[in-house]
Symmetry: C2
Subunit: 334 residues, 2 copies
């Protein structure tokens, strides 16, 4: 299996990305990786690696880079020799089975649609983010691919997300919920209400609306929302974790007793941290495009990159794209 990795995308590229690729190769003996980027920069990170790993890391030169702040559609169209675009061309031509990038989210989505192409019948792709919650891992879809979704888009997110949860996460009959501003049927705007009726009519394990407060408890396997709301929520979670950490550090600096207490609590805090650390999932699949496209966080270090490549590996191995196409398109659900 060949996965194309955008070696230049993200805040810690190319160093951490290449290291992550090496870790992934070590973990999966069937994996070959195309490291796409400036070969002068990328090659040095491959040299000196264990030969069994290095021979499966292929440097594919791409001269250009799409920056984190660039306009997604413009950059993916114009920068034909950018590492992200070249990686995606490899998926489009079936040379690679999937691709991974820590780069510009908008450009990844635009490239998924414009370079790789959508699965016929899917109008808009959705980014599905697995979230750690109290009772289970719950996937939030969409976290930013489709800013404002139409009812049909939300419906398709539900269809694709449940296939992902079933086959990739192994959840038998995924419980699906729609995020709204209250649990009662009178809540939601017109779009959310119309989406609810579409999902309800599709013979899924649909439990209706959930509220924001249900998300941390993991009240459903799949929570559907538009990309605006999902993005705001996801980033809020990130910021909240950072703010609490900053506050704890500040408070701990000023006090002696809490420091002593901390020593006793460390093992527990470590376990809690692991339980709520969403980076261990490492990758967010872009569902609805004709290939395994996995987006990793812009600040990913090698472990997170390796995890994102694992997600891509899993997605390809379990035939994620084919299953979505078969079940939805051939099953007449689109």
């Amino acid at each position: 299996m060949l996965i194309a990795v955008d070696a230049m995308g993200g805040d810690n590229a190319p160093h951490e990305v290449c290291q992550g690729a090496a870790i992934a190769c070590k973990n999966f003996p069937d994996l070959e990786i195309a490291l796409v980027g400036k070969d002068s920069l990328v090659k040095q990170h491959v040299e000196g690696l264990d030969p069994g790993v290095a021979k499966r890391l292929h440097v594919v030169h791409a001269d250009d880079v799409i920056g984190m702040e660039e306009s997604p559609v413009v950059s993916i169209r114009k920068k034909k020799d950018s590492s992200l675009r070249v990686a995606m061309e490899m998926v489009h031509s079936k040379e690679a089975q999937g691709c991974v990038s820590c780069g510009n989210t908008g450009a990844i989505v635009a490239g998924g649609v414009l370079v790789i192409g959508r699965i016929p019948g899917i109008e808009r792709p959705g980014l599905g983010m697995p979230l750690p919650a109290l009772n289970r891992t719950s996937m939030l879809i969409d976290v930013g691919a489709t800013v404002r979704a139409k009812p049909e888009n939300l419906f398709q997110f539900a269809l694709m997300g449940q296939i992902y949860m079933r086959h990739i996460f192994g959840v038998k009959e995924p419980e699906i919920a729609l995020l709204s501003n209250g649990e009662e049927e009178i809540k939601g705007d017109e779009v959310v209400m119309a989406a609810r009726e579409l999902i309800r009519g599709a013979n899924l394990n649909f439990k209706g609306y959930v509220e924001g407060k249900d998300i941390p408890f993991g009240t459903a396997d799949l929570v559907v929302c538009d990309g605006f709301t999902g993005n705001v929520l996801l980033k809020f979670m990130e910021g909240f974790g950072e703010a609490v950490y900053a506050l704890l550090k500040e408070e701990m600096g000023n006090r002696l007793l809490p420091k002593m207490g901390m020593v006793f609590m460390l093992p527990m805090i470590k376990e809690l941290w692991t339980r709520f650390d969403y980076e261990r999932y490492g990758g967010t699949p872009l569902l609805g495009v004709n290939g395994a496209v996995i987006k990793a966080h812009g600040r990913s270090k090698s472990t997170a990159v390796a995890n994102a490549i694992r997600v891509a590996h899993d997605f390809v191995e379990k035939r994620g794209v084919e299953l979505i196409r078969e079940e939805l398109l051939e099953g007449g659900k689109l």
Copy 2:
């Protein structure tokens, strides 16, 4: 000053509501409170109180109650003798200067619009929630009054919110931000983009877009969003706090060392809790209606109720409604 309190609204009514009213009366010698509800239930909570307080607590009988799950518009229209509606009628007739309820949020908003009435020129009201953040108290508006807002609504939330932050919170030139799915100008949907241009043109201290991750850091004094997004965020915060608490409790139950550590950390944790406990603000003003309407959390206990009454007292004393009317309407901004 007379504040009408919906004695029957919320999960802990009438007991905790009446207790909260008594605390508020103790704190503010100029305060008189109309406790609106079934007199057979309310009166017993006033009896036995300190006479100096009891004489300022006036029981106003209302035979009906609007439940938490009832349809807002239908219930406020039909239940003319409900405690919430009667409290709002008192504000409409200027008998009371403001009202406080822990009841059905939708009914409070509907009552604000239909019974008390909007400030002329204000199209939709906004619920403004003061949030504890790392660097300052930041107000999020709207958290659920106007599910999907038009650009003009978001603009008016910004105008009303900055007046509130200036006069009630004493912030000189409140920094205003618009919540979006990214900081760059290309982010946001059409509504958010149009709102950005309206706010930008209004000679305010406007810093443009903020993302979800900026909220816990308090990067602005006022963060504007539609009621759907604000509601999802607010409830997520609530749920997240509860989930972490449940998890800590479970983990602590299984371990001895963390328990010992906890003893050392208690003072710090208490301080952190106070800093992030949004209930200490106690009340969410409904901005844009012709009277001081304060919504308190449905689960409010006496302290939170007393805080909500304090917010109403402050709002009336500082002429919040009049200032919004004068600055916006007479200032030609609407």
